[in-house]
Each structure stands twice: as structure tokens, then as C-alpha cells.
């Protein structure tokens, strides 16, 4: 092999490794450029929308809440018209003035939304709606029924050395809230009222719990498929999860179960938000109306493994997949929602007049340093 052909090989390889994913071309007109979670803009419900309204959708999938915020702000904020923001991104977008208020009375199905989702604190501030709730899901405790006996009832299981080296939790700064929620219930003396509003002392206590948990962790999972692999192969037997992983694992005949432990759980609630700089407000409202109709809500819920906010979606869900309404707690009583603390962006404002809470930047730094 000559030197030259070796170089050619190296260059070829480098090009292959470095080739970036193609971007989305920003086109204007009757179009909506949308940032969404993967799977949120399926042809199944996007195609009929385009046909009915004449509005064209250009999609850009984002991998994390932070990426969504970054994308919404790219190019002065006029690159994208809408975003399916989770609760850990929505407040940043609202206070960053990246999104605009909407009038929910223009959305026919708004009145059918579950009461917890009409004005949740992650998209409604001072009575102003900065978007329309879409779907939600709890962050559950997932365990291997063959190994974890007796069945866990508390989050204590992922903080105790009993399953050392077999625990997995999401690789996400918002995971700090899970630990804070556990402390809120088990150490009332810390005075945690809201797992997303932590002052310096509460934050330190929470991080100490996470530092103690670290030696127990097999892996901080970044992708849902990672956690599925961990459970399938026996590398993890207990951990924090989403219903999606549970359902995928059960479908693959893995011996797993999940639950919302007695302390309650954190959860995510996604919101379609409209950019402050959109030129297609008309199409945006049409999309909000379409995506909140019971049938589309059910389609998305069953496809993605999450729960619709429209209370009329249940019959459609059961038609698509038998029993899915109950599986995803779409018909659960209000009591069920009360134990779910939906993600919201931690900000310095503690909500009680004090401004000494740890903001999201601190959470991110702490998380990076925790992983070390």
C-alpha cells in the first residue's frame, strides 16, 4: 500500500465521519417550519392536515429541550414558526420572548381538555396562554420483575445500595427534580415545596443525594433505546423511565413493570408554541386546532406512547389499540394528575417573592459536574 492511497483512505474516512446532517431549507408562503420531537409530525396526521388546509409543513426534529431552545433562537428567531416544547423548555422560550400568546378560545377542542391541561404553569403565566398543551406522560419507576423482589413502592429503591451497579436514570439535568421530589417527601425539614424551585441549601442537599447515588448507576441513559437495551440485556434492573420504554420492553416479552411510586413522580407535558416572529399565524392556529382534535390526539398518543390532553380521545385510542386508554391513564381521575409534578424550567424566581432559586444554567452545570 502506497503512502498516497493511504492518505486517500484517511481523507475518505474523515469525510464520512464529518459529513453533517442536511439542514432544513426555510421556505416562506403557506408553510410552517416546525421544530418537534421525533415522531410528533407523522405523515399519518400531517398529510391530511396539509390536504385540508393547504398549509405545508417543514419539519425539523430536535433531540433535546435545549436543542429546541437553541433552534428557536437561531437566526434571530425567525427561522421556525412552531415548536413542540416540553415543560423544561417552555418557560425559557416565554421569558426569552421567543414565543407569543395565543387565544385558546379559537381552538374548538380546547373546552374538552382535561382541567389540569388548560392552564398549566409551564405554558400559562398570569392567565396568558403561551401555547396549547399537547400530550403528557409520567416519568415512572421501571423494574425487572424477576430480579427486583419485592416489587418497589418508593423511589428509595434507586437511591439504596441494594441494586448497586444495576440502576439507570436519564442523562438530563431535569433529573435533579426527581431527586428533589424524593427529598420533598422524605426530608420535610428541607422545606422543598416544588421540586423545580430549589434554593441553595435545598439544591446542595439534592446534589448530595445524587452524588451518593452515582456509584449505584450503571449508566445515565441518553436515548430511550439505550435504556431498553440495558433492561433487555440485564445490565440494569431498576431505573427511571418513560411509559414508552415499558411498553416496548413488554412487547418484546421482557419481564418488566412500571409504576408511579408513593412519592409521586415528575412528568412531562408538551406544548405547541408559536414563534413570536411567525408570518403564518393563520396556519399556526389551523395546526393547533387540528392537533387537538380527539382523533389526531389519539393517533399521536398511541404512536408515541403518551397520554392525550383531550378527554374525548379515549374511544379513538381504544379503536387504534385495544385498552390503550387505560394503559396510558388517559381516563385517570384528577387524583392521578395531582401526584405528577410536570417539568418546568427552573428559574431564579422562586414563586414566593424570593429570587434566590437555582436557575437552569446552574442545574446544567451541576449535572455535568455530577457526571464528572
Amino acid at each position: 500500500m502506497t503512502t498516497r492511497s493511504m492518505w486517500a483512505l484517511v481523507v475518505l474516512l474523515a469525510v464520512g465521519l464529518a459529513f453533517p446532517a442536511a439542514g432544513v431549507s426555510a421556505q416562506r408562503g403557506g408553510t410552517l417550519n416546525m421544530i418537534a420531537w421525533e415522531g410528533y409530525l407523522q405523515p399519518q396526521w400531517v398529510k391530511p392536515f396539509q390536504k385540508n388546509t393547504g398549509c405545508t409543513i417543514h419539519q425539523k426534529y430536535a433531540g433535546s429541550s435545549d436543542e429546541m431552545v437553541t433552534l428557536m433562537r437561531s437566526g434571530g428567531g425567525d427561522q421556525y414558526d412552531m415548536v413542540s416544547a416540553s415543560g423544561d423548555a417552555s418557560l425559557r422560550l416565554i421569558y426569552g420572548k421567543d414565543v407569543q400568546t395565543i387565544d385558546p378560545t379559537k381552538i374548538p377542542d380546547y373546552k374538552n381538555f382535561g382541567p389540569a391541561f388548560k392552564s398549566p404553569p409551564n405554558n400559562t403565566i398570569g392567565g396568558k396562554h403561551y401555547g396549547l398543551s399537547l400530550q403528557w406522560g409520567p416519568n415512572t419507576l421501571l423494574y425487572n420483575t424477576k430480579v427486583v423482589k419485592p416489587a418497589p413502592t418508593s423511589w428509595a429503591s434507586i437511591y439504596s445500595p441494594q441494586y448497586k451497579g444495576k440502576v439507570t436514570v436519564p442523562d438530563n439535568p431535569i433529573q435533579i427534580a426527581d431527586a428533589a421530589l424524593y427529598l420533598m417527601k422524605t426530608q420535610p425539614s428541607l422545606g422543598i415545596k416544588d421540586p423545580y424551585e430549589l434554593n441553595s441549601a435545598q439544591f446542595t442537599a439534592t446534589l448530595n443525594l445524587l452524588k451518593k447515588q452515582k456509584p449505584l448507576i450503571k449508566k445515565y441513559w441518553a436515548l430511550a433505546s439505550d435504556e431498553i437495551d440495558l433492561f433487555k440485556n440485564g445490565d440494569a434492573v431498576i431505573g427511571a423511565s418513560w411509559p414508552y420504554q415499558t411498553n416496548t420492553l413488554i412487547a418484546a416479552k421482557a419481564p418488566v413493570k412500571d409504576l408511579v411510586p408513593k412519592e409521586g413522580a415528575t412528568g412531562w407535558l408538551d406544548t405547541w408554541m408559536v414563534s413570536a416572529h411567525t408570518k403564518n399565524l393563520d396556519c399556526a392556529y389551523k395546526w393547533l386546532s387540528w392537533i387537538s382534535t380527539p382523533k389526531v390526539q389519539a393517533e399521536q398518543a398511541v404512536y408515541f406512547g403518551e397520554t392525550p390532553v383531550n378527554s374525548k380521545a379515549c374511544p379513538f385510542m381504544n379503536k387504534l389499540a385495544k385498552g390503550s386508554c387505560a394503559t396510558y391513564h388517559a381516563n385517570a381521575p384528577l387524583k392521578y394528575f395531582k401526584q405528577i409534578h410536570f417539568w418546568k424550567t427552573p428559574i431564579a424566581d422562586c414563586g414566593n417573592g424570593q429570587k434566590n432559586c437555582m436557575d437552569y444554567t446552574k442545574w446544567q452545570q451541576a449535572w455535568t459536574q455530577l457526571k464528572g
Binding site: 433531540g63 435545549d66 433562537r73 459536574q369
Partner: protein, 307 residues
């Protein structure tokens, strides 16, 4: 019609003359020839590569407004101070460099005998076959190979299955730094084999015969003739294995465990999670400096002649 032909002839002649004049000018001034040949690639190199590096370096001295993610163009050493003062980042940097070094040494140890066999022992046919074997994995996607290793290393994977069949206790190395070391060593091995092979192949057979004639046994010949002459090849290969490991961030995510962050992961997180480009840029300076030092040493050892 005749006039038109004449005109066409004239144009042709003019063009011919102009070309001759240009050729003459280039011949008289060799530097002009060199300049016109070199300037496009040099320009591209400066604009695309050097400019990007400089921009990266400059932005490392800026900060970001945590709430709006806007860049604050205010010169400060804050990012570097955080890097220096926060032990977590030091751990990450040390881990990255250590694993890169371990991978390089491992690859050198595996590659040398392999390349030696290819260059000096194997028949032409076998050599061709071995080349295909070395290069074949490079045709498969990087991700596919990493995932394949996950299947091998995990608790119920091939490794533990084989150990079990042999009556040995299971190796619990899935999702750990050991796993990363194995996977990196596997993935970058071809980049070490090829330059070592090139260096070994270049050693004239007469040198080895001369060594033998002078009474040196096999071990002595290897130590005093072959190894010193192959060293530049090993160092050249180590540039690849070291820098490729140093800059990777995918394998740590897929194969690493709870404490497996690389510099690349922290950079990725600060850009994508925190929108904090300046901090990412500041940390990215670390591998650039490490690699700069490495290349200086490599040049001393003659690695660039071996490429």
C-alpha cells in the same frame, strides 16, 4: 464568408499567442507558477480551517447570557477559570487523555506484529487478503461497529456467554471505561496498522541481511535495526489513534458508563444543552493544545517522513 473564416483564424491565432505569452511569463517567474498553483488550496485552508480555529479560540473568551443565550462580547478568562477550578473538568480532561494514550499503546502493540507479518513474512496473496481484512471494517458504519460491541460486552452478551461455556466467571465490563478502551482500540486499529506497515515495508532487505552477516541474532536485529526504522511509522499511526480517540464523543455515550464523559461530550453538552458556545470553545482548546504538543514530539521522532 472568406472574411468570416479569416476572422476566426485571427481569433485562434490571438489565443495561441496569448497562451504562449502566459507560458513564457510563468517560465520566467517560477514563483508566479508556484503562487497560482498553491493559492487556491492555501486560501481554502486559511479560510475554512485556520479561520474556524481562530474564531473558536476568540469565542472562548466570551460569555453567554444564561437566560437569552445571547453572546456577550466581553473579554474575560471566566471560562478558563471555571475549567481550571472545577475538579470535574480536570477529571474529564485527564480521563480523555489517559484513555487516548492507553488506546494508542494497545494499538501499537497489536499492530506491530500484524504489520510485520504483512510486510515481511506473508506471501503476496496473503498480504492482499490481510489488507482486505484490515480495511473491511472501515466500510461498515462506525455506529454499527460500536453497537456490535455493545452486543458483545453486555451482561447477557457474547463475551459472558463464552466465559460461561468455558466455566469462567462473567466479566462485568459493559458500560465502563474498560469497555471504551476495548472499543476504541478495535475501531482505530487499522489507522495504526497501515502506517506501521508502510514503514516496515520500506526497510531494505539488505539492512537485515547485513545485520545478520554481522552476527546479530533475530532479537538483536529487531531491536537495533527494525524497531528504530519502524518507529516513525508507529508514531505516525499514534497520531491517528491518539487524536481520533481524543476527539470522539459518540463511543462514550454508547459504550461508557456512569463516569465516562470525554472532553467532546462536555463540549457537545455546553453547545447543545446550555447554548454556551464560549465554554465549549474554551474546553475545546484543551485537545488542540494537547494535540499540538503531541505533533511537535511526533515531528521530532520523524513521524512526518513516515507518512
Amino acid at each position: 464568408m472568406a472574411a468570416g473564416l479569416d476572422a476566426a483564424e485571427g481569433v485562434k491565432r490571438d489565443r495561441h499567442r496569448a497562451r504562449r505569452r502566459l507560458g513564457g511569463a510563468l517560465w520566467r517567474r517560477p514563483w508566479l507558477k508556484g503562487l497560482s498553483l498553491l493559492s487556491p488550496p492555501v486560501l481554502a485552508f486559511t479560510l475554512v480551517y485556520v479561520a474556524a480555529l481562530v474564531a473558536l479560540f476568540i469565542s472562548a473568551f466570551w460569555t453567554v447570557n444564561p437566560f437569552t443565550s445571547q453572546l456577550i462580547h466581553h473579554w474575560t478568562f471566566d471560562n478558563f477559570r471555571t475549567l481550571w477550578n472545577e475538579p470535574a473538568y480536570r477529571t474529564v480532561a485527564i480521563r480523555t487523555v489517559t484513555i487516548a494514550a492507553a488506546v494508542t499503546v494497545t494499538d501499537a502493540l497489536i499492530a506491530f506484529p500484524f504489520a510485520y507479518y504483512m510486510a515481511r513474512v506473508a506471501s503476496r496473496r496473503t498480504r492482499g487478503f490481510l489488507f482486505v481484512l484490515v480495511l473491511l471494517p472501515l466500510w461498515a458504519s462506525y455506529l454499527a461497529r460500536v453497537y456490535a460491541w455493545r452486543l458483545i460486552l453486555n451482561s447477557d452478551g457474547l463475551l459472558n456467554w463464552s466465559l460461561h461455556k468455558l466455566g469462567l466467571p462473567p466479566a462485568n465490563i459493559a458500560y465502563s471505561n474498560t469497555a471504551m478502551w476495548i472499543v476504541f482500540s478495535y475501531i482505530w486499529l487499522p489507522f495504526m496498522i497501515l502506517p506501521v506497515y508502510a514503514a516496515l515495508e520500506r526497510i531494505p532487505h539488505s539492512y537485515i541481511e547485513a545485520s545478520r552477516d554481522l552476527g546479530a541474532k533475530g532479537g538483536r536485529t529487531l531491536r537495533t535495526v527494525i524497531l528504530p526504522l519502524a518507529l516513525p511509522g508507529v508514531v505516525a499511526g499514534s497520531i491517528f489513534t491518539f487524536s481520533l480517540t481524543l476527539g470522539d464523543y459518540i463511543t462514550p455515550v454508547l459504550i461508557g458508563g456512569a463516569s465516562s464523559q470525554f472532553i467532546g461530550n462536555v463540549v457537545y453538552d455546553s453547545v447543545n444543552q446550555s447554548s454556551n458556545l464560549p465554554f465549549g470553545a474554551a474546553f475545546a482548546v484543551v485537545p488542540v493544545v494537547v494535540m499540538g504538543a503531541y505533533l511537535m514530539i511526533a515531528r521530532r521522532l520523524g513521524a512526518f517522513e513516515a507518512l
